[in-house]
Amino acid sequence: MRHPLPPEIESLWTLFTAPVVWALHFLACYVTAAIFCAKPGLLGNDFFALRTLIAGITLLSLAMIVVAALLAWRQWGFGTGDPPHDDPTRRDRLLFQGYATLLLSGLSFVAVIFTALPAVFLTECLR
């Protein structure tokens, strides 16, 4: 059977996937809004368009985090084993990585939503 998910990567860096998505999302929101407000006209003058753009970036980021979470969930054996994953085996090391990555995906998911909240409540640059 062909698996819908890509093959597993054996690396420490996968741990940081979801937080990196948060960081890019944060940067995109901040930089876009800053340029929109500092250079009137360059990115248009319609604040609603900016909010729509932020909403788009947010949905994309959340989708990427969900994919990261799915991959992590698989690495964690779909939750078949309980923590603490402290056996001196490669398998437990993988399970630990999967679990920690899954937790970080959750935090990043919430943090992305927090970061997007300003676009819900503010309707202009207000400077």
């Binding site: 937080p19 500092a38 603490p84 001196p88 630990f96 990585q97 937790l103 927090f114």
Partner: protein, 835 residues
């Protein structure tokens, strides 16, 4: 795998050899030691001394503010005192104390003999000591920095700031370099020098935290270094980065400072919490509950802390939509912090807690820190911060966070780890007495400040009127400060006097489970032999481990070749990969630090000749250090480390620790560069026409420079390939011509702004273009020196087809250099054309 003693070994000789190789030098040569146990101790003691000094300054502040209209200190003296109090506490205590603890503890905790670059660690310490004395000493001459610890221009760039501003900038830049050195050391140490079997899921939590913190330093400190550079260029050469009359903007400094400044709070906080993550399980008598949650909290905090910096700038008039993003991230960062606290609570709930003195400090710290966290949630809300910002409310908040989140945990760590220093114990009775004095004194001092601030008292005022309701609040704070001071004094007495004549106690009095408690304080070798780890708490789960390790039954129990050696293992599963030979006792670290320190001190006083000469001396010292101390070709290929494992003595490329160090250093360097590029675009957003009508460097010379640097990059890669295939002559030609091309590239880079006559003092556009171009040129020149270094090594036979780590590292440097050149010349050459 179990430890089988091998019958043919003469353990007594082995042990004597090992002891001789790792022996610390005696007499005055003691100070040339580079061993982590000595350097860590010096580092810690120095940081502690700076803390006491800054604490006395704090008491002076409180004495001045005890009553309204007090004239104990003049306005000018007060401004120097409070600036130095903040500066010393942040830069000379809070950050260095964690580097100290890490250097001291990590090797035994990871089961390593030593960190991978001991001389770099010692160099960092000497830099810190010299820079620290320079900065602190200034107050005795009345020329200490006086513009607040965040040095906002235009005040700090003005005449009024005097030489104090230069002392601050140069003295601290020097110390920031030391912090980056520590970050390199710690990241490579934690990733590559763990005991075999210590997989990432078995790593002590302290190491997890430190790994994240060291990574944060790489991204947090360079923006400040870039900011310092711009600042000093303005102060020395009148380049107008922060002068609005010539297109500059004072807010750029605030951005760069706080991109550093906010993560720094977490750089301070996480290592202290890491100590609690070691202490709490020991006294709860069980493994930590929620190991993965701690990893989540550390990594999550590490990332989120970079999205908070503007919350120090809520009142600067940025668009509210921008403020709101940072407010949101500032709220979000409270989540991983809460996770951390609840992990400790859960661990205590699931264990049987022994309430010792370290636990007392730990719990007191948590109670204080949680309060600081809650007021942090408050000030992170924009409307509330408009009121609270720059008032005593913020003073209260930051002391609750730093003292609860850092000082109390560090004291807990002091009481907990003290037996590792010489096997003696601190006094339990004095500890409890000191704790209650400190806890009460702290709250009496800082709790009223919340109210003082909301009743309108701004921070950084040397005096205040009598009749607006601040007098009795301030008097209470001052009385509390005295109590806090007495508590600290009790601990100092305990550390310095009390231990004399005390018998050596047990080394592991708490019956802790982690590896550092195996170490024998009398020995300088870290661990007698390096064990295979099978648990997060090996001393609890691996029976007889301590005895086997100290009997030399495990890996690498000897030093037959008379060299200091430690194991390098793989990142994820810690499989043994290499025996690494590390640097030993040497003067070169002190000489390097002294010469570099002289450069910075001489720059402060604008003694150009002295700084040029000491700069050259520093370069010579570093080259001598590299030439004689690194990249040695071993006398044999491999070494048997026992239990049938034989490992290579040499590695190059990705497998070598030097390659990792280069990668990490250049990541930090790249961040500083990115900060300068941020500055360029920041000026673009501030002005309708950011060029100020000045002609740019044109397109020809920037593109020419880019092409030359790209050629030099290609030559380096080709030289590496040629050398690998044994075609030495080809490699020599490539390296030589590569160096020449780099020099031509530097010239082309500078030719751009030179030929169009850009005057860096006339307008900020010219200044920032010059800065970027000089940055790229200096890096190109450095790349050229590296190519020549490889050429010399190869000619001297110290670099061969198989032993080619220098070439790999230089090629890696050139990858970064290529990106730097690409960005620089695209930005200065193409971006203005695209407008």
């Amino acid at each position: 795998m179990s430890a089988q003693p091998e019958p043919t070994r003469d353990k007594a000789t082995e042990e004597a050899q090992l002891r001789a190789v790792w022996a610390k030098p005696t007499g005055w040569r003691y100070w040339t030691s580079v061993n982590n146990a000595q350097v860590g101790l010096w580092y810690g003691a120095t940081a502690f001394a700076f803390m006491l000094f800054a604490g006395l300054l704090g008491l002076l502040i409180r004495a001045q503010l005890a009553v309204p209209q007090n004239d104990l200190l003049s306005a000018e003296t007060y401004n120097q005192v409070y600036t130095l109090h903040g500066t010393v506490m942040m830069f000379l205590f809070a950050v260095p104390i964690f580097e100290a603890v890490a250097i001291f503890l990590l090797p035994p905790m990871l089961g390593a003999r030593e960190l991978p670059f001991p001389r770099l660690g010692a160099f960092g310490f000497w830099s810190f000591l010299i820079g620290g004395i320079f900065v602190c000493g200034s107050i005795f001459f009345g020329v200490a920095p006086n513009s607040g610890w965040f040095m906002y221009p235009p005040l700090a760039t003005s005449e009024q700031a005097g030489i104090g501003a230069d002392i601050w900038l140069l003295g601290l830049s020097f110390i920031e370099v030391a912090s980056l050195a520590a970050a390199v050391e710690l990241i490579v140490g934690i990733m590559k020098c763990r005991a075999p079997g210590m997989r990432v899921n078995l790593m002590p939590l302290f190491a997890w935290y430190l790994l994240i913190v060291a990574g944060m330093i790489l991204f947090a400190f360079p923006p400040l270094i870039a900011g310092d550079l711009l600042f000093e260029l303005q102060r020395m050469f009148d380049w107008p980065f922060f002068d609005p009359a010539r297109g500059g903007d004072p807010l750029l400094w605030q951005h760069l400072f706080w991109i550093f400044g906010h993560p720094e709070v977490y750089i301070i906080f996480l290592p202290a919490i890491a100590l609690l993550a070691m202490i709490v399980p020991t006294f709860a008598r069980r493994p930590i509950v929620g190991y993965s949650w701690i990893v989540l909290a550390a990594v999550g905090t590490g990332f989120l802390s970079f999205g908070l910096w503007v919350h120090h700038m809520f009142a600067t008039g940025l668009p509210q939509i921008s403020l709101a993003f940072f407010s949101a991230a500032s709220e979000a960062v409270a989540i991983p912090t809460a996770v951390q606290i609840f992990v400790f609570i859960a661990t205590m709930l699931a264990g049987r807690v022994i309430f010792s003195t370290p636990m007392l400090f730990a719990m007191g710290g948590i109670a204080i820190f949680v309060m600081g966290g809650l007021t942090g949630v408050m000030v992170a809300l924009v409307p509330f911060d408009w009121q609270a910002h720059d008032t005593y409310f913020v003073v209260a908040h930051l002391h609750y966070v730093l003292i609860g989140g850092m000082l109390f945990p560090v004291f807990a760590g002091l009481y907990y780890y003290y037996p590792l220093i010489g096997g003696k114990h601190m006094s339990d009775r004095v500890g409890r007495f000191a704790f209650w004095l400190m806890f009460a004194g702290f709250n009496i001092t800082f709790f009223p400040m919340h109210l003082t601030g909301l009743r309108g008292m701004p921070r950084r005022v040397y005096t205040y009127p009598a009749d607006i309701g601040w007098d009795w609040l301030n008097l209470i704070s001052t009385m509390g400060a005295v109590v806090l001071g007495i508590g600290m004094f009790a601990v100092v007495m305990d550390v310095t006097l009390h231990r004399r004549g005390k018998p050596r106690g047990e080394v592991n009095p708490w019956n802790a489970g982690t590896l550092e408690w195996i170490s024998e304080p009398e020995e300088n070798w870290g661990v007698r032999s390096i064990p295979r780890i099978e648990s997060r708490y090996p001393l609890w789960d691996q029976e007889a481990l301590a005895r086997q390790v100290n009997a030399g039954d495990w890996y690498l129990p000897d030093a037959k070749e008379g060299r200091r050696e430690t194991l390098v293992t793989s990142v994820l599963d810690a499989e043994p990969e290499q025996v690494l030979r590390v640097g030993g006792t040497s003067y070169v670290t002190i000489i390097s630090a002294l010469t570099l320190g002289t450069v910075f001190v001489a720059l402060t006083f604008k003694w150009w000749i002295v700084s040029l000469i000491s700069g050259l001396a520093f370069m010579a010292a570093v080259l001598w250090w590299l030439w004689n101390g690194t990249g040695d070709i071993p006398e044999k290929d491999g070494k048997d480390i026992g239990h049938g494992i034989s490992l290579p003595l040499y590695a190059s490329g990705v497998k070598s620790v030097g390659w990792w160090a280069m990668f990490i250093t250049m990541t930090g360097d790249g961040t500083a560069f990115a900060s300068l590029v941020f500055g360029y675009f920041f000026f673009w957003t501030v002005h309708a026409d950011f060029t100020g009508g000045i002609a740019g460097p044109g397109m020809f010379w920037p593109m020419m420079a880019l092409a030359l640097f790209a050629l030099s990059w290609a030559a380096t890669l080709a030289a590496r390939e040629a050398n690998r295939r044994g075609k030495l002559a080809v490699a020599w030609i490539l390296l030589g011509s590569g160096a020449l091309t780099s020099i031509a590239g530097c010239a082309a880079a500078l030719a751009g702004p030179l030929t169009t006559g850009m005057d860096p003092t006339a307008h900020v556009y010219a200044a920032i273009v010059w800065t970027l171009v000089i940055w790229a040129a200096l890096h190109g020149a450095m790349g050229g020196i590296m190519q020549l270094y490889c050429l010399a090594r190869s000619l001297a036979g110290r670099l061969t087809a198989r032993h080619d780590m220098e070439l790999h590292n230089v090629a890696l440097y050139w990858h970064f250099m290529l990106v730097t050149a690409l960005v620089t010349f695209a930005v200065v050459g193409l971006f203005p054309e695209a407008l």
